[in-house]
């Protein structure tokens, strides 16, 4: 009788040991799954943020107005006008007049900045003719 009881107790303790091991494994797996889920969620948020920023960049770019007429004209005429303006509006042409020299300096910088923009160069040409009293 005693032997049977001892066997039963031994069996039960073995089962409880086995349950403990399986519980540990299950717990570790659960922690791993939670960790991976959190990582995926975090990555998804980052990916979505990146996607929305990309979309925003795209929307902003598509909203901009493009002056194709000016681009076509600039392709053929901007270089010639720039060459003419950079000579006529050079600040060294006004060494004795400090005021005109300063204006010429500003205009010259703008000309250099917009050397491929025909429309802007035409505006600068008109400004130079008016403010520097020169014929271009």
């Amino acid at each position: 009788m005693n032997d049977t009881m001892n066997d039963t107790i031994n069996n039960l303790s073995n089962i409880s040991e086995q349950i403990d091991i399986w519980m540990c494994i299950a717990l570790v797996e659960l922690i791993l799954i939670v960790f991976l889920l959190m990582k995926i969620k975090k990555g998804k948020v980052k990916w979505q943020e990146n996607l929305s920023r990309k979309e925003q960049f795209k929307q902003d770019a598509l909203k901009e107005e493009i002056d194709f007429g000016n681009i076509i004209q600039s392709s053929f005429h901007a270089q010639q006008l720039y060459d003419k303006l950079k000579i006529k509006c050079h600040p060294d042409r006004f060494p004795n007049d400090a005021e005109k020299n300063e204006i010429a300096n500003e205009i010259f910088q703008e000309i250099a900045k917009n050397k491929r923009n025909y429309k802007k160069l035409l505006e600068l040409k008109a400004q130079a003719e008016q403010q520097l009293n020169i014929n271009i």
């Binding site: 960049f57 770019a61 901009e64 493009i66 681009i71 076509i72 392709s75």
Partner: protein, 125 residues
Amino acid sequence: MWNRIREWFRDRSARARLLRDFNYNARKAFIEGIVPTLLKAGVSKGCSSYRHQFSDWLKSGFRVQAFAGVELSKSDIINIGEVVLSENALVRTLVVLGFDTLEVHGDVGNYGCRWQLKDYIQLSY
């Protein structure tokens, strides 16, 4: 998925509109005698080494070609390319519409120049 399909169609439409606007203005300037050469914009295969995040996977080249009128010299070709690249709004639009290569070609043969568009824009959005 549905959004992606809609976006794809929207992009196609925006690309077609961009080319149409360019060609319309080029034709108008040529007819009015403002420019000596008729330019025509189109789409080409592009250069695979110029790819970026927005690149179209089939046709990613924006090609500007002389169509009629005075023949373009090498300096004219370079000048046209530089004018297009100096227009930041146009370069940005080209990039987001999937173009990664700008090609400028003469009317005869295959001579021309090409530029990598992402070099002329900051893509850190």
